[in-house]
Symmetry: C2
Subunit: 255 residues, 2 copies
């Protein structure tokens, strides 16, 4: 057992005579550690019995202190793994699973708003046509959207979707719907695999304006090709992400 | 069957009377499509029978043309999936699997050089100490390295490793070895899971200098925590990636 908490003297600072209840003093101390960065995002707290002994308080008092911080969104408990400092950033797992941003947001209970900037049939531009296995000039749906969270816009998405495989998609309302969900549920397409590539890029032009950042602001840039189960490509997209507002996370296993 | 090749008139341009053999004319045409971006990286060529019919050549001639381009590294054949235009960028799968850059490079047969910039025991800085479950001030190995490919430096890595779990690691030579390999093979540690977060950041100071880019150049920034099978954290690292020279790719499945 390490004595990680002792050097900072948390236990000594508790005032058992003060009018502020002990659990509130403990939750304020933990809050200060989180805010100062001493306990950074993803830091795993020691077990409740260990923490209670270190702080010289009962487990009941500790639990009340922790529940305040959980309610405030500073801590999160994961069954079987422990109590963690939450990340201040939204962290979609789009590098790890073939989910979409809207699916990730929905799963995490994050309120997101979507603005459809344009939604039109165009003649497939040359590299997109090749990646989607279309003839140059064949019709494709170009869908441009901005996704925003409460701090502001987090992603500019430009999707190119094969309308020969999803006829009428140009008339669907994609404001509040997942594109993948629509393709799977309305068109019965079986989305199977995807390739996503992540690079860093400097914001410019329409992207800088859409994400409300200055020119040259560093953005995460995601290029994606999605395939159906029969191997046909269904969709290509360019996504620019404001990664200070939304960090891309992968939980990985060694084997 | 689409007639994707016809609009560009590839077949018409073949000169059966020319002194240049037909297979060489075909490989030059395909090379031009790749170089022009008409067939972008990851583009899947149509099947050999279809391509041969479209070009009006025998499958033997087509195979000779393709084998030239495979030998030159412009195309790659994946068993059961087809023939693809190779990516010009190195694409480690560090967003997808808990591998290290050196393991990925080795698997892809990419020649990489590593420069160890510093390799020393330090007193664990506060957020790193918390993430590694150490007391503030406890000793940790700080390892700083630059990885380079032929176009130049591609990543600056700063690892913090728990030497209480790997005693003597500060004396190991890490110039040509994988850190994970060393921990697993020499110390018998079972590396199990990891969390990696990807953001975009502006190059500055030591990182800009190490990667030979101007200040503010957009870089991919990876933060990683690695855990052993018993749940103890073993390593934390900061990695800055020149993503024009090395793109991070994930191949994902929907289910």
């Amino acid at each position: 057992m390490s004595d990680q908490l002792r050097p900072a003297g948390a236990a000594e600072q508790l005032d058992r005579e003060a009018p502020v209840p002990l659990h509130a003093q403990v939750s304020e101390q933990i809050r200060a550690r989180i805010m100062s960065g001493e306990w950074p995002p993803h830091y795993r707290l020691r077990s409740e019995p260990e923490l209670a002994v270190d702080l010289g308080i009962s487990r009941g008092t500790l639990r009340r202190a922790l529940s305040t911080l959980i309610r405030d969104g500073l801590l999160v408990q994961v069954r079987g793994r422990g109590t963690f400092v939450t990340s201040t950033a939204i962290e979609p797992s789009i590098a790890q699973k073939l989910t979409t941003l809207s699916e990730d947001f929905a799963r995490q209970g994050v309120a997101v708003s979507t603005q459809v900037i344009s939604h039109e049939l165009i003649s497939a531009p040359s590299p997109v046509a090749a990646l989607l296995d279309l003839r140059p000039g064949q019709s494709v749906l170009r869908l441009e959207r901005i996704r925003s969270l409460s701090p502001g816009p987090v992603a500019r998405l430009v999707n190119y979707v094969r309308v020969d495989l999803a006829p009428g998609l140009e008339r669907a309302d994609l404001t509040d719907r997942s594109l993948f969900g629509l393709l799977e549920n309305e068109y019965g397409l079986k989305i199977s695999t995807g390739r996503r590539t992540f690079t860093a890029t400097a914001a410019s032009g329409a992207t800088a304006a859409a994400l409300e950042v200055p020119e040259s602001f560093p953005l995460l840039y995601l290029e994606q090709i999605t395939y159906l189960d029969d191997g046909r490509p269904i969709e290509y997209s360019d996504v620019w992400i404001h990664s200070e507002r939304m960090r891309v996370t992968s939980l990985l296993s060694r084997r």
